[in-house]
Protein backbone atom coordinates (compact mmCIF):
# COMPACT_ATOMS: atom_id res chain seq x y z
CA UNK A 1 0.00 0.00 0.00
CA UNK A 2 2.87 2.34 0.90
CA UNK A 3 4.49 1.34 -2.36
CA UNK A 4 1.37 2.22 -4.35
CA UNK A 5 1.16 5.51 -2.48
CA UNK A 6 4.74 6.31 -3.54
CA UNK A 7 3.97 5.43 -7.18
CA UNK A 8 0.90 7.69 -7.11
CA UNK A 9 2.93 10.43 -5.45
CA UNK A 10 5.53 10.20 -8.22
CA UNK A 11 2.85 10.45 -10.89
CA UNK A 12 1.34 13.47 -9.17
CA UNK A 13 4.74 15.13 -8.85
CA UNK A 14 5.39 14.73 -12.58
CA UNK A 15 1.87 15.69 -13.52
CA UNK A 16 2.46 16.89 -17.09
CA UNK A 17 4.58 13.87 -17.91
CA UNK A 18 1.89 11.60 -16.46
CA UNK A 19 -0.76 13.42 -18.47
CA UNK A 20 1.17 13.01 -21.73
CA UNK A 21 1.73 9.29 -21.09
CA UNK A 22 -1.90 8.72 -20.14
CA UNK A 23 -3.06 10.75 -23.16
CA UNK A 24 -1.19 8.35 -25.45
CA UNK A 25 -3.02 5.39 -23.94
CA UNK A 26 -6.30 7.31 -23.92
CA UNK A 27 -6.10 7.97 -27.65
CA UNK A 28 -5.12 4.35 -28.25
CA UNK A 29 -8.10 3.13 -26.23
CA UNK A 30 -10.48 5.57 -27.96
CA UNK A 31 -9.23 4.53 -31.39
CA UNK A 32 -9.44 0.85 -30.49
CA UNK A 33 -12.89 0.98 -28.92
CA UNK A 34 -14.43 3.32 -31.48
CA UNK A 35 -12.97 1.73 -34.60
CA UNK A 36 -13.67 -1.82 -33.47
CA UNK A 37 -17.14 -0.99 -32.13
CA UNK A 38 -18.17 0.94 -35.24
CA UNK A 39 -16.81 -1.59 -37.72
CA UNK A 40 -18.06 -4.61 -35.82
CA UNK A 41 -21.39 -2.87 -35.40
CA UNK A 42 -21.47 -2.41 -39.16
CA UNK A 43 -20.66 -6.09 -39.61
CA UNK A 44 -23.50 -7.02 -37.24
CA UNK A 45 -25.87 -4.83 -39.23
CA UNK A 46 -24.79 -6.48 -42.47
CA UNK A 47 -25.25 -9.85 -40.83
CA UNK A 48 -28.78 -8.93 -39.84
CA UNK A 49 -29.57 -7.64 -43.33
CA UNK A 50 -28.32 -10.83 -44.89
CA UNK A 51 -29.73 -13.33 -42.49
CA UNK A 52 -33.09 -11.59 -41.95
CA UNK A 53 -33.95 -13.71 -38.90
CA UNK A 54 -33.35 -16.99 -40.70
CA UNK A 55 -31.06 -19.93 -39.96
CA UNK A 56 -29.42 -20.49 -43.33
CA UNK A 57 -28.20 -18.18 -46.05
CA UNK A 58 -27.83 -19.48 -49.61
CA UNK A 59 -25.77 -17.76 -52.27
CA UNK A 60 -23.63 -18.41 -55.33
CA UNK A 61 -20.49 -20.41 -54.72
CA UNK A 62 -17.10 -18.67 -54.94
CA UNK A 63 -18.28 -15.09 -55.02
CA UNK A 64 -16.38 -12.69 -52.78
CA UNK A 65 -19.11 -10.05 -52.71
CA UNK A 66 -22.79 -10.91 -52.40
CA UNK A 67 -23.73 -8.07 -54.75
CA UNK A 68 -22.31 -10.27 -57.51
CA UNK A 69 -24.06 -13.46 -56.37
CA UNK A 70 -26.76 -14.95 -58.60
CA UNK A 71 -29.19 -17.43 -57.08
CA UNK A 72 -31.80 -18.65 -59.61
CA UNK A 73 -35.36 -17.86 -58.53
CA UNK A 74 -36.34 -21.26 -59.96
CA UNK A 75 -34.07 -22.97 -57.43
CA UNK A 76 -35.60 -20.88 -54.63
CA UNK A 77 -39.12 -21.76 -55.70
CA UNK A 78 -38.21 -25.45 -55.96
CA UNK A 79 -36.66 -25.45 -52.52
CA UNK A 80 -39.76 -23.77 -51.08
CA UNK A 81 -41.51 -27.13 -51.57
CA UNK A 82 -38.94 -28.99 -49.45
CA UNK A 83 -40.24 -30.49 -46.19
CA UNK A 84 -37.37 -29.08 -44.10
CA UNK A 85 -37.95 -25.50 -45.25
CA UNK A 86 -40.56 -23.44 -43.43
CA UNK A 87 -39.80 -20.21 -45.28
CA UNK A 88 -37.43 -19.24 -48.04
CA UNK A 89 -37.03 -15.62 -48.99
CA UNK A 90 -35.10 -14.23 -51.96
CA UNK A 91 -33.39 -10.86 -51.78
CA UNK A 92 -31.64 -8.99 -54.55
CA UNK A 93 -29.15 -6.32 -53.50
CA UNK A 94 -28.08 -3.38 -55.60
CA UNK A 95 -26.37 -0.05 -55.03
CA UNK A 96 -27.09 3.10 -57.02
CA UNK A 97 -26.73 6.80 -56.44
CA UNK A 98 -29.24 9.62 -56.46
CA UNK A 99 -28.45 13.31 -57.12
CA UNK A 100 -27.55 14.20 -53.53
CA UNK A 101 -26.66 10.75 -52.23
CA UNK A 102 -23.72 8.78 -53.57
CA UNK A 103 -24.95 5.50 -52.11
CA UNK A 104 -28.52 4.25 -52.09
CA UNK A 105 -28.95 0.58 -51.28
CA UNK A 106 -31.79 -1.19 -53.07
CA UNK A 107 -33.44 -4.37 -51.81
CA UNK A 108 -35.47 -6.45 -54.27
CA UNK A 109 -37.93 -8.43 -52.15
CA UNK A 110 -41.26 -10.18 -52.36
CA UNK A 111 -44.37 -8.56 -50.90
CA UNK A 112 -44.57 -11.17 -48.13
CA UNK A 113 -40.99 -10.50 -47.03
CA UNK A 114 -40.32 -10.42 -43.28
CA UNK A 115 -38.25 -7.29 -43.90
CA UNK A 116 -41.53 -5.44 -44.48
CA UNK A 117 -43.78 -7.33 -42.11
CA UNK A 118 -41.41 -6.90 -39.15
CA UNK A 119 -40.77 -3.20 -39.81
CA UNK A 120 -42.79 -0.36 -38.33
CA UNK A 121 -44.88 1.28 -41.03
CA UNK A 122 -44.65 5.04 -40.52
CA UNK A 123 -46.74 5.86 -43.58
CA UNK A 124 -48.52 4.05 -46.40
CA UNK A 125 -50.34 0.78 -46.70
CA UNK A 126 -48.42 -2.53 -46.98
CA UNK A 127 -51.00 -3.85 -49.44
CA UNK A 128 -49.88 -1.26 -52.00
CA UNK A 129 -46.48 -3.00 -52.23
CA UNK A 130 -47.20 -5.83 -54.66
CA UNK A 131 -44.97 -8.31 -56.48
CA UNK A 132 -46.12 -7.14 -59.89
CA UNK A 133 -46.32 -3.43 -59.04
CA UNK A 134 -43.88 -0.60 -59.55
CA UNK A 135 -44.28 1.17 -56.22
CA UNK A 136 -41.39 1.22 -53.76
CA UNK A 137 -41.13 1.45 -49.98
CA UNK A 138 -38.49 3.64 -48.36
CA UNK A 139 -36.63 3.28 -45.12
CA UNK A 140 -37.14 6.24 -42.76
CA UNK A 141 -33.69 7.71 -43.35
CA UNK A 142 -33.96 7.25 -47.11
CA UNK A 143 -37.28 9.08 -47.03
CA UNK A 144 -35.57 11.89 -45.10
CA UNK A 145 -32.61 12.32 -47.40
CA UNK A 146 -34.72 11.86 -50.55
CA UNK A 147 -37.29 14.28 -49.06
CA UNK A 148 -40.01 11.83 -50.01
CA UNK A 149 -43.55 11.25 -48.79
CA UNK A 150 -46.33 8.91 -49.79
CA UNK A 151 -47.19 9.35 -53.45
CA UNK A 152 -44.11 11.38 -54.30
CA UNK A 153 -41.77 10.32 -57.07
CA UNK A 154 -38.14 9.85 -56.22
CA UNK A 155 -35.05 9.53 -58.40
CA UNK A 156 -33.10 6.32 -57.80
CA UNK A 157 -30.19 6.08 -60.19
CA UNK A 158 -31.38 6.50 -63.75
CA UNK A 159 -35.07 5.93 -63.01
CA UNK A 160 -37.83 7.42 -60.93
CA UNK A 161 -40.16 5.49 -58.62
CA UNK A 162 -43.36 6.30 -56.81
CA UNK A 163 -43.36 5.84 -53.02
CA UNK A 164 -45.96 3.48 -51.54
CA UNK A 165 -44.75 3.44 -47.95
CA UNK A 166 -42.17 4.54 -45.39
CA UNK A 167 -40.92 2.06 -42.80
CA UNK A 168 -38.62 2.15 -39.80
CA UNK A 169 -36.29 -0.72 -38.99
CA UNK A 170 -33.63 -1.20 -36.33
CA UNK A 171 -31.01 -1.49 -39.01
CA UNK A 172 -29.33 1.67 -40.31
CA UNK A 173 -28.60 0.19 -43.71
CA UNK A 174 -32.18 -0.94 -44.24
CA UNK A 175 -33.42 2.40 -42.92
CA UNK A 176 -31.41 4.12 -45.61
CA UNK A 177 -32.59 1.73 -48.33
CA UNK A 178 -35.17 1.49 -51.07
CA UNK A 179 -37.33 -1.66 -51.08
CA UNK A 180 -38.50 -2.67 -54.55
CA UNK A 181 -40.67 -5.54 -55.68
CA UNK A 182 -38.26 -8.33 -56.68
CA UNK A 183 -39.30 -8.35 -60.36
CA UNK A 184 -38.89 -4.58 -60.63
CA UNK A 185 -35.47 -4.78 -58.98
CA UNK A 186 -34.38 -7.61 -61.32
CA UNK A 187 -35.42 -5.55 -64.28
CA UNK A 188 -33.72 -2.42 -62.94
CA UNK A 189 -30.41 -4.16 -62.29
CA UNK A 190 -30.62 -6.44 -65.35
CA UNK A 191 -30.69 -9.52 -63.19
CA UNK A 192 -33.74 -11.28 -64.54
CA UNK A 193 -34.57 -14.55 -62.88
CA UNK A 194 -32.04 -14.29 -60.04
CA UNK A 195 -31.65 -13.03 -56.46
CA UNK A 196 -28.44 -12.22 -54.59
CA UNK A 197 -29.26 -14.48 -51.66
CA UNK A 198 -32.02 -16.62 -50.27
CA UNK A 199 -32.59 -16.87 -46.55
CA UNK A 200 -34.07 -20.06 -45.18
CA UNK A 201 -36.03 -20.79 -42.04
CA UNK A 202 -36.06 -24.47 -41.08
CA UNK A 203 -38.97 -26.60 -39.95
CA UNK A 204 -36.51 -28.66 -37.91
CA UNK A 205 -33.22 -27.02 -36.93
CA UNK A 206 -31.62 -30.37 -36.13
CA UNK A 207 -31.76 -31.24 -39.81
CA UNK A 208 -29.71 -28.29 -41.07
CA UNK A 209 -26.82 -30.56 -42.22
CA UNK A 210 -29.29 -32.68 -44.18
CA UNK A 211 -30.69 -29.63 -46.01
CA UNK A 212 -27.24 -28.23 -46.69
CA UNK A 213 -26.19 -31.52 -48.22
CA UNK A 214 -29.33 -31.58 -50.36
CA UNK A 215 -28.69 -28.04 -51.65
CA UNK A 216 -25.06 -28.75 -52.46
CA UNK A 217 -25.95 -31.94 -54.34
CA UNK A 218 -28.88 -30.47 -56.24
CA UNK A 219 -27.36 -27.06 -56.98
CA UNK A 220 -23.58 -27.41 -57.33
CA UNK A 221 -23.20 -23.69 -58.07
CA UNK A 222 -24.83 -22.69 -54.78
CA UNK A 223 -23.66 -22.85 -51.22
CA UNK A 224 -25.77 -22.92 -48.06
CA UNK A 225 -24.25 -21.84 -44.77
CA UNK A 226 -25.59 -21.44 -41.28
CA UNK A 227 -25.58 -17.80 -40.25
CA UNK A 228 -22.68 -18.14 -37.81
CA UNK A 229 -20.74 -20.17 -40.37
CA UNK A 230 -21.39 -17.46 -42.96
CA UNK A 231 -20.34 -14.65 -40.62
CA UNK A 232 -17.04 -16.40 -39.94
CA UNK A 233 -16.27 -17.17 -43.57
CA UNK A 234 -17.57 -14.21 -45.56
CA UNK A 235 -14.45 -12.46 -46.75
CA UNK A 236 -15.89 -8.92 -46.53
CA UNK A 237 -16.67 -9.44 -42.85
CA UNK A 238 -13.26 -10.91 -42.23
CA UNK A 239 -11.58 -7.95 -43.93
CA UNK A 240 -13.65 -5.50 -41.86
CA UNK A 241 -12.98 -7.31 -38.59
CA UNK A 242 -9.26 -7.68 -39.29
CA UNK A 243 -9.01 -4.03 -40.34
CA UNK A 244 -10.72 -2.85 -37.19
CA UNK A 245 -8.38 -4.84 -34.93
CA UNK A 246 -5.36 -3.80 -36.98
CA UNK A 247 -6.18 -0.08 -36.88
CA UNK A 248 -7.03 -0.31 -33.19
CA UNK A 249 -3.88 -2.31 -32.50
CA UNK A 250 -1.65 0.20 -34.29
CA UNK A 251 -3.27 3.05 -32.37
CA UNK A 252 -2.62 1.12 -29.18
CA UNK A 253 0.98 0.52 -30.18
CA UNK A 254 1.43 4.27 -30.60
CA UNK A 255 -0.09 4.72 -27.14
CA UNK A 256 2.38 2.16 -25.82
CA UNK A 257 5.28 4.05 -27.39
CA UNK A 258 4.03 7.18 -25.67
CA UNK A 259 4.13 5.38 -22.31
CA UNK A 260 7.59 4.00 -23.07
CA UNK A 261 8.78 7.48 -24.00
CA UNK A 262 7.25 9.02 -20.89
CA UNK A 263 8.72 6.40 -18.59
CA UNK A 264 12.15 6.57 -20.24
CA UNK A 265 12.26 10.34 -19.85
CA UNK A 266 10.97 9.96 -16.33
CA UNK A 267 13.79 7.58 -15.38
CA UNK A 268 16.46 9.67 -17.12
CA UNK A 269 15.24 12.68 -15.19
CA UNK A 270 15.20 10.85 -11.87
CA UNK A 271 18.57 9.11 -11.80
CA UNK A 272 19.61 10.88 -8.62
CA UNK A 273 16.25 10.23 -7.05
CA UNK A 274 16.49 6.52 -7.86
CA UNK A 275 19.96 6.49 -6.32
CA UNK A 276 18.47 8.04 -3.17
CA UNK A 277 15.88 5.25 -3.07
CA UNK A 278 18.64 2.66 -3.42
CA UNK A 279 20.64 4.23 -0.56
CA UNK A 280 17.48 4.08 1.55
CA UNK A 281 17.13 0.35 1.14
CA UNK A 282 15.28 -0.08 -2.16
CA UNK A 283 16.47 -3.19 -3.98
CA UNK A 284 16.87 -3.25 -7.77
CA UNK A 285 13.63 -5.21 -8.05
CA UNK A 286 11.79 -2.70 -5.86
CA UNK A 287 13.00 0.13 -8.10
CA UNK A 288 11.85 -1.83 -11.17
CA UNK A 289 8.49 -2.55 -9.51
CA UNK A 290 8.06 1.16 -8.83
CA UNK A 291 8.68 2.00 -12.50
CA UNK A 292 6.34 -0.79 -13.65
CA UNK A 293 3.75 0.32 -11.10
CA UNK A 294 3.87 3.91 -12.33
CA UNK A 295 3.60 2.76 -15.93
CA UNK A 296 0.64 0.47 -15.19
CA UNK A 297 -1.07 3.29 -13.30
CA UNK A 298 -0.58 5.59 -16.30
CA UNK A 299 -2.14 2.89 -18.50
CA UNK A 300 -5.00 2.50 -16.05
CA UNK A 301 -5.69 6.24 -16.13
CA UNK A 302 -5.57 6.01 -19.94
CA UNK A 303 -8.02 3.09 -19.98
CA UNK A 304 -10.51 4.83 -17.69
CA UNK A 305 -10.30 8.11 -19.61
CA UNK A 306 -10.28 6.36 -22.99
CA UNK A 307 -13.28 4.14 -22.20
CA UNK A 308 -15.27 7.12 -20.91
CA UNK A 309 -14.41 9.22 -23.97
CA UNK A 310 -15.24 6.30 -26.29
CA UNK A 311 -18.59 5.79 -24.60
CA UNK A 312 -19.46 9.48 -24.95
CA UNK A 313 -18.09 9.70 -28.51
CA UNK A 314 -20.07 6.68 -29.69
CA UNK A 315 -23.25 8.06 -28.17
CA UNK A 316 -22.54 11.43 -29.76
CA UNK A 317 -21.98 9.79 -33.15
CA UNK A 318 -25.12 7.73 -32.76
CA UNK A 319 -27.10 10.89 -32.04
CA UNK A 320 -25.89 12.59 -35.26
CA UNK A 321 -28.82 12.55 -37.70
CA UNK A 322 -26.59 11.59 -40.64
CA UNK A 323 -25.35 8.49 -38.84
CA UNK A 324 -28.54 7.44 -37.14
CA UNK A 325 -28.93 3.71 -37.28
CA UNK A 326 -25.46 3.17 -38.74
CA UNK A 327 -23.55 3.31 -35.47
CA UNK A 328 -23.83 0.50 -33.00
CA UNK A 329 -22.76 1.97 -29.66
CA UNK A 330 -22.77 -1.24 -27.73
CA UNK A 331 -19.29 -1.57 -26.17
CA UNK A 332 -18.87 -5.29 -25.80
CA UNK A 333 -17.50 -6.46 -22.42
CA UNK A 334 -15.16 -8.76 -24.33
CA UNK A 335 -13.70 -5.78 -26.18
CA UNK A 336 -13.34 -3.74 -22.98
CA UNK A 337 -11.58 -6.68 -21.33
CA UNK A 338 -9.29 -7.00 -24.35
CA UNK A 339 -8.49 -3.28 -24.13
CA UNK A 340 -7.76 -3.53 -20.39
CA UNK A 341 -5.49 -6.52 -21.01
CA UNK A 342 -3.73 -4.67 -23.84
CA UNK A 343 -3.28 -1.60 -21.64
CA UNK A 344 -1.83 -3.71 -18.87
CA UNK A 345 0.52 -5.33 -21.37
CA UNK A 346 1.37 -1.92 -22.87
CA UNK A 347 2.11 -0.57 -19.40
CA UNK A 348 4.51 -3.41 -18.71
CA UNK A 349 6.11 -3.37 -22.17
CA UNK A 350 6.47 0.42 -22.08
CA UNK A 351 8.26 0.26 -18.74
CA UNK A 352 10.58 -2.59 -19.67
CA UNK A 353 13.53 -0.56 -20.91
CA UNK A 354 13.19 2.26 -18.32
CA UNK A 355 12.93 -0.31 -15.53
CA UNK A 356 16.02 -2.17 -16.74
CA UNK A 357 17.87 1.13 -16.97
CA UNK A 358 16.75 2.14 -13.48
CA UNK A 359 17.88 -1.22 -12.10
CA UNK A 360 21.37 -0.63 -13.46
CA UNK A 361 21.81 2.75 -11.78
CA UNK A 362 24.71 2.60 -9.33
CA UNK A 363 23.76 4.76 -6.37
CA UNK A 364 27.30 5.90 -5.51
CA UNK A 365 28.09 6.92 -9.10
CA UNK A 366 24.71 8.55 -9.58
CA UNK A 367 25.07 10.62 -6.42
CA UNK A 368 28.65 11.49 -7.24
CA UNK A 369 28.15 12.60 -10.84
CA UNK A 370 24.47 13.45 -11.41
Amino acid sequence: MQFLRLALLNLRRHFVRTLIGAAGITFGVVAMLCVVTILQGAVRMFERILSSDSEIIMFEKNVSDLFFSNVPIQAIDDLAQHDLIAEIEPALFGIVSSPDNPVVTCFGIRSDSTRLSKATWLAGDPTNFTDEGSLVVLGKRAADFLKAEIGSTIPVGHKEFKVAGIIETENGFEDGGVFMPLALCQDYFHKEGVASVATIKMTDQDKIPELKEHIEKTYPNLVALENEEFNQSYSQFRILKTTSWLVGGIAFLLGGLSVANTMTLSVFGRIREIAILRVNGFSRSQVASLIFGESILISLIGVIAGTSISFLSLHFLKALPALQGYIDTELSPKLILAVIAMSFFTGIAGALYPALYAMKIKPADALRFE
Binding site: L6, L9, R272, A275, I276, R284, P363, A364
Partner: protein
Protein backbone atom coordinates in the same frame (compact mmCIF):
# COMPACT_ATOMS: atom_id res chain seq x y z
CA UNK B 1 22.53 -13.03 19.04
CA UNK B 2 25.38 -10.62 18.45
CA UNK B 3 28.19 -10.98 21.00
CA UNK B 4 28.29 -7.81 23.07
CA UNK B 5 31.99 -7.20 22.58
CA UNK B 6 31.88 -7.41 18.76
CA UNK B 7 32.37 -4.03 17.09
CA UNK B 8 29.35 -3.12 15.02
CA UNK B 9 31.64 -1.78 12.27
CA UNK B 10 34.58 -4.00 11.27
CA UNK B 11 36.55 -3.04 8.17
CA UNK B 12 39.54 -5.15 7.12
CA UNK B 13 42.11 -4.37 4.41
CA UNK B 14 39.75 -2.50 2.11
CA UNK B 15 41.08 -1.45 -1.28
CA UNK B 16 39.23 0.46 -3.93
CA UNK B 17 40.26 1.91 -7.25
CA UNK B 18 38.47 3.72 -10.06
CA UNK B 19 39.01 4.04 -13.80
CA UNK B 20 40.11 0.41 -14.20
CA UNK B 21 42.68 0.58 -11.43
CA UNK B 22 44.29 3.83 -12.60
CA UNK B 23 43.04 5.80 -9.59
CA UNK B 24 43.77 4.01 -6.33
CA UNK B 25 41.50 5.55 -3.67
CA UNK B 26 41.76 3.13 -0.73
CA UNK B 27 44.93 1.16 -0.08
CA UNK B 28 44.22 -1.40 2.61
CA UNK B 29 42.13 0.37 5.24
CA UNK B 30 41.29 -1.17 8.63
CA UNK B 31 38.62 0.41 10.84
CA UNK B 32 36.87 -0.85 13.92
CA UNK B 33 34.24 1.25 15.71
CA UNK B 34 33.10 0.22 19.19
CA UNK B 35 29.40 0.07 19.98
CA UNK B 36 27.74 3.35 20.89
CA UNK B 37 30.75 5.47 19.91
CA UNK B 38 31.05 8.37 17.50
CA UNK B 39 34.18 8.16 15.36
CA UNK B 40 35.24 10.98 13.04
CA UNK B 41 37.25 10.42 9.87
CA UNK B 42 39.32 13.45 8.90
CA UNK B 43 41.65 14.17 6.05
CA UNK B 44 42.13 16.33 2.98
CA UNK B 45 39.81 16.23 -0.02
CA UNK B 46 40.40 13.16 -2.18
CA UNK B 47 41.98 11.11 0.60
CA UNK B 48 39.20 8.49 0.33
CA UNK B 49 36.91 9.43 3.24
CA UNK B 50 33.70 9.39 1.24
CA UNK B 51 34.61 6.21 -0.62
CA UNK B 52 35.41 4.49 2.69
CA UNK B 53 32.05 5.57 4.13
CA UNK B 54 30.18 4.47 0.98
CA UNK B 55 31.79 1.04 1.27
CA UNK B 56 31.02 0.79 4.99
CA UNK B 57 27.39 1.66 4.22
CA UNK B 58 27.17 -0.86 1.40
CA UNK B 59 26.44 1.81 -1.21
CA UNK B 60 29.59 0.82 -3.02
CA UNK B 61 31.53 -2.42 -3.04
CA UNK B 62 35.24 -2.75 -2.28
CA UNK B 63 37.74 -4.30 -4.68
CA UNK B 64 39.28 -6.30 -1.87
CA UNK B 65 38.90 -6.70 1.86
CA UNK B 66 35.87 -7.16 4.04
CA UNK B 67 33.21 -5.05 5.74
CA UNK B 68 31.23 -6.58 8.55
CA UNK B 69 28.30 -4.66 10.04
CA UNK B 70 26.74 -6.10 13.16
CA UNK B 71 28.31 -9.45 12.41
CA UNK B 72 27.09 -9.61 8.82
CA UNK B 73 29.50 -9.34 5.93
CA UNK B 74 28.54 -6.94 3.14
CA UNK B 75 30.01 -9.22 0.51
CA UNK B 76 26.83 -9.62 -1.54
CA UNK B 77 24.19 -7.32 -2.99
CA UNK B 78 21.57 -9.07 -0.87
CA UNK B 79 23.50 -8.44 2.35
CA UNK B 80 24.22 -4.85 1.41
CA UNK B 81 20.51 -4.12 0.81
CA UNK B 82 19.58 -5.93 3.99
CA UNK B 83 22.10 -3.81 5.91
CA UNK B 84 20.88 -0.56 4.32
CA UNK B 85 17.31 -1.47 5.24
CA UNK B 86 17.77 -2.54 8.83
CA UNK B 87 21.22 -1.81 10.23
CA UNK B 88 22.62 1.28 8.53
CA UNK B 89 21.38 4.83 8.19
CA UNK B 90 23.26 7.10 5.78
CA UNK B 91 23.54 10.89 5.95
CA UNK B 92 25.01 12.84 3.03
CA UNK B 93 26.72 16.20 2.97
CA UNK B 94 24.13 17.49 0.49
CA UNK B 95 21.27 15.79 2.32
CA UNK B 96 20.04 14.06 -0.88
CA UNK B 97 16.39 14.53 -0.17
CA UNK B 98 13.73 14.52 -2.90
CA UNK B 99 12.98 18.23 -3.32
CA UNK B 100 9.31 18.17 -4.28
CA UNK B 101 8.27 15.73 -1.59
CA UNK B 102 7.39 16.93 1.89
CA UNK B 103 9.65 16.35 4.85
CA UNK B 104 7.33 13.59 6.07
CA UNK B 105 7.22 11.88 2.65
CA UNK B 106 11.02 11.95 2.41
CA UNK B 107 11.41 10.43 5.85
CA UNK B 108 8.94 7.63 5.10
CA UNK B 109 10.94 6.37 2.09
CA UNK B 110 13.15 3.91 4.05
CA UNK B 111 10.02 2.42 5.65
CA UNK B 112 8.56 1.71 2.20
CA UNK B 113 11.68 -0.29 1.34
CA UNK B 114 11.24 -2.41 4.47
CA UNK B 115 7.46 -2.69 4.09
CA UNK B 116 6.82 -1.16 7.51
CA UNK B 117 3.17 -0.58 8.36
CA UNK B 118 2.23 3.04 7.63
CA UNK B 119 0.83 3.64 11.11
CA UNK B 120 3.99 2.38 12.72
CA UNK B 121 6.10 4.41 10.29
CA UNK B 122 4.16 7.57 11.08
CA UNK B 123 4.52 7.01 14.83
CA UNK B 124 8.25 6.59 14.36
CA UNK B 125 8.40 9.68 12.16
CA UNK B 126 6.51 11.87 14.63
CA UNK B 127 8.83 10.74 17.41
CA UNK B 128 11.96 11.56 15.39
CA UNK B 129 10.52 14.83 14.05
CA UNK B 130 9.94 15.88 17.65
CA UNK B 131 13.49 14.95 18.64
CA UNK B 132 14.96 16.81 15.66
CA UNK B 133 12.71 19.81 16.30
CA UNK B 134 10.95 19.56 12.95
CA UNK B 135 7.40 18.58 13.94
CA UNK B 136 6.06 21.88 12.66
CA UNK B 137 7.74 21.39 9.26
CA UNK B 138 6.55 17.86 8.48
CA UNK B 139 4.13 18.93 5.74
CA UNK B 140 6.57 21.38 4.16
CA UNK B 141 8.34 20.55 0.95
CA UNK B 142 12.09 20.24 1.08
CA UNK B 143 12.64 23.35 -1.04
CA UNK B 144 10.83 25.34 1.64
CA UNK B 145 13.23 24.22 4.40
CA UNK B 146 16.48 25.90 5.45
CA UNK B 147 19.84 24.16 5.07
CA UNK B 148 19.90 23.13 8.73
CA UNK B 149 16.33 21.85 8.57
CA UNK B 150 17.13 19.84 5.47
CA UNK B 151 20.10 18.22 7.19
CA UNK B 152 18.02 17.46 10.26
CA UNK B 153 15.43 15.90 7.91
CA UNK B 154 18.20 13.73 6.46
CA UNK B 155 19.13 12.66 9.99
CA UNK B 156 15.51 11.90 10.73
CA UNK B 157 15.26 9.79 7.56
CA UNK B 158 18.48 7.93 8.37
CA UNK B 159 17.03 6.86 11.73
CA UNK B 160 13.58 5.81 10.49
CA UNK B 161 14.32 2.08 10.39
CA UNK B 162 16.10 2.22 13.79
CA UNK B 163 19.58 1.42 12.49
CA UNK B 164 22.29 0.50 14.95
CA UNK B 165 24.93 2.12 12.73
CA UNK B 166 24.83 5.60 11.22
CA UNK B 167 27.29 6.59 8.51
CA UNK B 168 27.52 10.32 7.90
CA UNK B 169 29.51 11.77 5.02
CA UNK B 170 30.38 15.33 6.02
CA UNK B 171 26.91 16.04 7.43
CA UNK B 172 27.86 19.59 8.38
CA UNK B 173 29.96 20.31 5.29
CA UNK B 174 27.38 22.55 3.63
CA UNK B 175 26.24 24.36 6.77
CA UNK B 176 27.35 27.55 8.49
CA UNK B 177 29.26 27.26 11.78
CA UNK B 178 26.30 27.79 14.09
CA UNK B 179 24.10 25.32 12.22
CA UNK B 180 26.99 22.84 12.01
CA UNK B 181 27.28 22.79 15.78
CA UNK B 182 23.54 22.41 16.20
CA UNK B 183 23.46 19.46 13.75
CA UNK B 184 26.55 17.91 15.33
CA UNK B 185 25.11 18.13 18.82
CA UNK B 186 21.88 16.58 17.54
CA UNK B 187 23.88 13.69 16.10
CA UNK B 188 25.72 13.33 19.41
CA UNK B 189 22.45 13.29 21.34
CA UNK B 190 20.99 10.66 19.02
CA UNK B 191 24.09 8.48 19.41
CA UNK B 192 23.56 8.56 23.15
CA UNK B 193 19.77 8.33 23.27
CA UNK B 194 19.40 5.65 20.55
CA UNK B 195 22.57 3.73 21.36
CA UNK B 196 23.73 4.22 17.79
CA UNK B 197 27.27 3.64 16.58
CA UNK B 198 28.37 6.38 14.22
CA UNK B 199 31.19 6.98 11.80
CA UNK B 200 31.37 10.45 10.33
CA UNK B 201 33.62 12.09 7.78
CA UNK B 202 34.39 15.74 8.43
CA UNK B 203 36.73 18.52 7.44
CA UNK B 204 36.00 20.37 10.65
CA UNK B 205 38.65 19.46 13.18
CA UNK B 206 36.84 21.35 15.94
CA UNK B 207 33.81 19.12 15.49
CA UNK B 208 35.97 16.04 15.19
CA UNK B 209 37.62 16.79 18.54
CA UNK B 210 34.24 16.33 20.19
CA UNK B 211 33.82 12.78 18.91
CA UNK B 212 34.99 9.68 20.80
CA UNK B 213 37.82 9.00 18.38
CA UNK B 214 39.38 10.69 15.35
CA UNK B 215 40.80 8.72 12.40
CA UNK B 216 43.17 10.61 10.11
CA UNK B 217 43.33 9.54 6.47
CA UNK B 218 45.83 10.44 3.77
CA UNK B 219 46.25 9.01 0.27
CA UNK B 220 43.85 6.15 0.87
CA UNK B 221 45.47 5.03 4.10
CA UNK B 222 44.82 5.56 7.78
CA UNK B 223 47.65 7.43 9.44
Amino acid sequence: MIPIKTSPIEVRQITKSFDHGKIQVLRGVDVSVPRGKLVSVCGPSGCGKSTLLHIIAGIESADQGSVVIEGQSLDSEKNRIEALRHRIGFIFQLHNLIPDLTMEENCLIPTIATGMDRGEALDRFHDLAKKTGLSHRSKNRIQDLSGGERQRTAICRALMNSPSVVVADEPTGALDEKTSWSVFSLLGDLVVSHGVTMIMATHDLELAKNSDRVIQMRDGRIE
